[in-house]
Subunit: 92 residues, 2 copies
């Protein structure tokens, strides 16, 4: 088999691994959204504001602390920026 | 206990659940990054371009198909836009 074909076959295999991993990721993101909606519903009773920048900073600090790479803290911060934004904007 | 305190305690408990979930999410995002780096390294041998909009569209279609909510397809698309961007920009 040509080297080129071999590399293409390896990429196909790795893309299947990514697809399987994306199914887990989408499941976890939805689990996260379910909990975020529960918190949102409790905030008026707790007398908390809907937007809490201190809590967001806590989340960013936490994910940077537990990160083992290869993503850098700044990559994760960008990804989590989008995650937290979409959780806030989600219709409840 | 006041209703307000009760709601605050419930929020604390749910935030602990979110923190535990974020540890799994960060692990999966890094697993995804590891595979993405392997694919990137194989692309020159496979004679594939580093950027492949058709493959990105496949990923968006796949995640929309498997999504069971409460996130909407458009929320997931925004989050995955950030994920794919950061995976591309990651230093290898």
């Amino acid at each position: 088999m040509y080297d080129q074909e071999m590399a293409q076959k390896k990429i196909d295999g790795l893309r299947s691994e990514l697809d399987a991993l994306d199914e887990k990721l989408v499941g976890l993101l939805n689990d996260r959204a379910t909990i975020a909606l529960k918190i949102r519903a409790l905030k008026p009773d707790a007398n908390y504001g809907l937007y809490d920048p201190k809590r967001e900073e806590e989340i960013f600090t936490h994910i940077a602390r537990i990160n083992q790479g290869p993503l850098y803290a700044e990559n994760l911060r960008e990804i989590y920026g989008a995650i937290l934004r979409e959780m806030k904007e989600m219709r409840g």
